[in-house]
Each structure stands twice: as structure tokens, then as C-alpha cells.
């Protein structure tokens, strides 16, 4: 079963950029990700895990990298 980080990376590659060089701590914004692409990642994660990510925690910082998104999901109870 895929880890949370692997799942997040899969959605990032599908919605933002399929660049092989994305590491878990790569800044997604520095890859040129825009708000629509990040919202696409967010909504696909919500659907996949059956959760809602509240606006207050879905900050720019929280979506900075695969790692920060994974930490956010962990705080929301996703394992």
C-alpha cells in the first residue's frame, strides 16, 4: 500500500508536473505550480482520503512540498 508521501507525489506529478526530479522536500512553487494546480492536488487528496482540508490549514506554507502536505494530512488523521 502506498505511503502518504507516495500518494501526494503521485497527485503532484499528475496535476502539476511529471518531473522526475521532484524530491519530497522540493518547493512546488519553485517548479512553477500555480493555484489551480495546487487546488487540484488538494481536492484529489480530499477525495482519495475521504476528508476535508479546511481553508485555515490549507495555507501556502502547508502546500510548499510533498513533505509539508504529508505532515498536514497526518495532523488531519491520515496515515
Amino acid at each position: 500500500m502506498a505511503t502518504v508521501q507516495e500518494t501526494v507525489l503521485e497527485f503532484v506529478r499528475s496535476e502539476v508536473i511529471a518531473d522526475r526530479r521532484i524530491a519530497y522536500d522540493t518547493s512546488l512553487y519553485s517548479l512553477g505550480a500555480n493555484s489551480l494546480e495546487m487546488v487540484a492536488v488538494k481536492t484529489r487528496l480530499e477525495k482519495h482520503y475521504g476528508i476535508r482540508i479546511p481553508d485555515e490549514v490549507a495555507t501556502r506554507e502547508a502546500f510548499e512540498s510533498v513533505d509539508s502536505i504529508s505532515r498536514l494530512l497526518a495532523r488531519l488523521g491520515v496515515r
Partner: protein
Amino acid sequence: MGADGPAAQPNGAPDSQGRPCAIWRDAPAHVRLDADGVHLWRIDMNPHRAPLASMTRLLGENERLRAEQVISQDARRRFIVSHTAMRQILSRYLDQPADEIRYTADARGKPVLDRMAGAPDIRFNLSHSGELALLAVALGRDVGVDLELIRPVSAWRIIAGRYFSASENQELAELPAEEAAVAFLRCWTRKEAVAKASGEGISTRWTGLTVSLEVQAPPSVVAFAPGACAGMCITLWPSTQGRDTSLLSVPVGRLGHIACGTASDRPSQQSQVRPRPCAWEKDQA
């Protein structure tokens, strides 16, 4: 309004259907912006032989650090070119050297100019897609711009469900699939332009805001945030084969919107004055 320079039709005057007339033109030596106008600058982020080293010297310390952290060469080039262009353009309105301009992110992350005493209240917003960037500049009013590549967004239905209003979703549901996918992008860029103008950014609170999805709609008045004062949204159309120069055009395959707030000294009054756009090409300095 700075309508200097050769032009067959006045830049900014509306046509008979109320659509803004603006043709991408070389900017005059002196660009002048008044409270009635909004200027839109087109920036090519892949100019021939971009002198990146000298451009980087114009950037602020934060920008240089950010540029260094970008791992993709293309993304780094785009960042350097667009931010240098932004400084050079703003410099023309502020009468300040490009490398001395300071801007910082406000509490909600929107870049705002550090205004010098006596300087005009210039506000701006940047958006980019592919190798094209657009910079919107306004005087004394909030401005936002959003540009998107027309492309399949596989998650569009879920996004619309979370971020769009009930009536927007209703309109999308009534369209055939291919039209709905583009209408989704039109709705998204319209809302995103408004969200960027207000500095709030899109959130699920925006389900309370409805924008028109009509293709032929003239600039429409929208509320900047649920309950807040009104502004206006101007559509940027993908150029047609017939080069419809009566509309603000972006290259084929893209669409976008500019949103402009009301003048800040009349916050509670719906402004009767519709911002008139001027569209300028950023020259390769």
C-alpha cells in the same frame, strides 16, 4: 490615459457592445495612469538572448534567494525575467530606479509596494502561464490578473463542487462536456482574478460569489468578496484567427481575466466609472 503613439482606434474606448478595445502596443516613452485606467503589460519570459546575469542584479535580496532555490532552469529563467520586467515596468510609474523598488508580501501573502513618501498609490498583480506573463497596474484601486493555459484539468468537477457557487455549478452542468471544461477555466480565472485583486486568495468561502460564465459577456461587475464592495472583471480572450483587435487578446490556447476594484476613496459606493484598460508590450530592455 496615455493614448500617445500611433493608433487607428483609441486605446481603452469601449466598442458598441461595451467591450473594452485594447490592442497590444508598444508603450509610449511616458506612460501615464489615472484613476480611471488599468494598464496591462505583456511580458515574454523567453526573450532572445536574455541577459540573466545583469537582470539578476536588478532584483531584491529576497528575489535573488528565491531564484537560487529554483531547481528547474526554465522556471528560474522565467522568475528572473518576469520579476526584472515587473521592476522595470513599475519604475516607469513610480519614477524610481528599477533596482530600488521594494515590495513585500502583506499579511495574506500578496506582494505590495513599499510606498515612498509622496509616491502615487500604484498597485499591481502578476500572473503567468507558459512563457507569457501579464502584469496589471492600477492607481488607487486593487487589481488582480489570472492567466491559464486551456488544458484538461481532470479534477475540474471536484474543484467546481468545492469552490464554485450553486448557480455556477448549475450552469456548468447544463453545458456539453467539452464546453463545460473550458467554461470551468473561464469561471476559475474570473474568480481567481477577483481573489487576487482582493488579496484573499481563493478559498471555499468563495462559493458565495457567482461570476458570469457567458462567453460574450461584456465586463461584468462582481463583488470582491462575499458582501464586500463591487468591482469589475474584464475578460482576456484567446486570439482568434481573425485577430479580433477589439478585445484584449492572449495567445491561442490561453484565457484569463483582470479584476479591478473600485477606487479606494469611495469604498462603499459602487463606482460608476468603469476602468478602461490599456495593453502594452514590454519591450526587451
